[in-house]
């Protein structure tokens, strides 16, 4: 088993469908098809958020969910765009990486792209390239 690493990233539109999925390491694949998996992840996030709101009215923009072997990091922008990243437990600095992905990769290359249609799957090759660059240059990626 390898050490620190970043497994995958989901990007969800405010309305709940997945507009981007990117994968770097994934030893285990879900038994369901990708479309159902995205719905399941989004359902989990929505429930976790309402769970948070009940336990504490001051709802945070960021939270993380850990299992024995991986951690799911969740970042939501004020416009309800959701970034979800799975990493190894030892990974650090992901709380700063997700906002960085939003500010330095998503905003210039998706929002700033007049050809990108809002709410649809991100088709831009430049976005994908820039995203891989920023993730693979992170200290927790190995």
């Amino acid at each position: 088993m390898r050490g620190m690493t970043i497994y995958n990233l989901y990007i969800f539109h405010p309305q709940g469908h997945c507009i981007g999925y990117y994968e770097w390491h994934r030893p285990k694949r879900a038994s369901i098809n990708p479309a159902e998996e995205f719905q399941l992840v989004h359902g989990l996030l929505t429930s976790v958020r309402s769970f948070n709101e009940k336990l504490s009215p001051l709802g945070p923009r960021q939270c993380s969910v850990s299992t024995m072997k991986n951690r799911l990091h969740y970042f939501e922008t004020a416009t309800s765009l959701k970034f979800v990243m799975n990493t190894d437990l030892a990974a650090f600095g992901i709380e700063e990486l997700l906002p960085k992905i939003y500010e330095q990769v998503y905003v210039p290359y998706v929002t700033g792209n007049p050809l990108a249609i809002k709410g649809e799957l991100i088709q831009s090759e430049v976005f994908k390239q820039k995203l891989s660059d920023i993730v693979q240059s992170h200290a927790s990626f190995a």
């Binding site: 399941l40 709101e53 072997k69």
Partner: protein, 228 residues
């Protein structure tokens, strides 16, 4: 170093025990002039703030008193009509606040705490999270949720081999709650399972168990480390 809640959830996701020592936020009383600068709506039959902040009152706070009188269930104001003391007029708070003649008005706000039903709902939700996160994990054999962290609390879960889950919710600065959870499991074995009147997977109603859990949490909050 505060522990807010501890829960025990059975194999089916039902809440069988909960210990609540969450510190209560103080009530806030504010005098308002027309128009009121907080937006209120009826949510779950309670007048709740949905927009705006003032003097510590935030989204999610509930109005409980108006001009010193507690609100009736459903967010209504009971007031004696001038004609007769026996006759009572009932006005909805939101209608009352829409009338400029009623100002200035004194409102008391309360930050809602979890009711028993809400705790049961949260436990069932967590049961689902646990299973789904195991299924969605990109690594094999990762199990379910162990830690759920946010800026305001940290939740830790220990699932015994029998399938019972022991949860603790604490301050984000709390030391790891593993020891507390394992001790809780030990107390569960001693006071619940050895109780001949206890039915498996049913709510635990045992005074000795309550006392033991209370002492355990107090010891944990004092030192953060539990010795034998």
């Amino acid at each position: 170093m505060t522990v807010y809640y501890t829960f025990i959830i059975n194999r089916a996701g039902g809440l069988i025990y909960e210990y609540d020592c969450c510190p209560r936020a103080p009530d806030v009383e504010i005098s308002f002039n027309y128009p009121i600068d907080l937006k209120l709506e009826m949510i779950d039959n309670r007048p709740t703030v949905v927009f705006g902040e003032k003097n510590g009152v935030q989204v999610g706070y509930v109005v409980i008193e108006c001009n010193g009188c507690p609100l009736a269930p459903g967010g209504r104001i009971d007031s004696a009509d001038d004609d007769s003391l026996a006759k009572t007029k009932s006005t909805k708070l939101l209608d009352y606040l829409a009338d400029e003649a009623n100002y200035p008005v004194l409102l008391k706000f309360w930050r809602p705490t979890l009711s028993t039903n809400e705790k049961i709902i949260l436990s069932s939700m967590f049961h689902s999270f646990y299973a789904i996160s195991a299924q969605l994990s990109p690594v094999p054999n990762s199990g379910g949720i162990q830690v759920l962290e946010s800026t305001t609390y940290r939740l830790q879960c220990f699932q015994a081999l029998t399938g019972n889950k022991f949860l603790a919710v604490g301050d984000p600065t709390c030391p790891p709650l593993d020891q507390l959870l394992h001790k809780l499991h030990e107390l569960y074995s001693d006071y619940a399972l050895k109780n001949p009147f206890y039915s498996l997977d049913m709510p635990i109603r045992c005074d000795l168990f309550d006392q033991a859990v209370q002492q355990l949490v107090e010891r944990f909050e004092k030192s953060g480390v539990l010795l034998v």
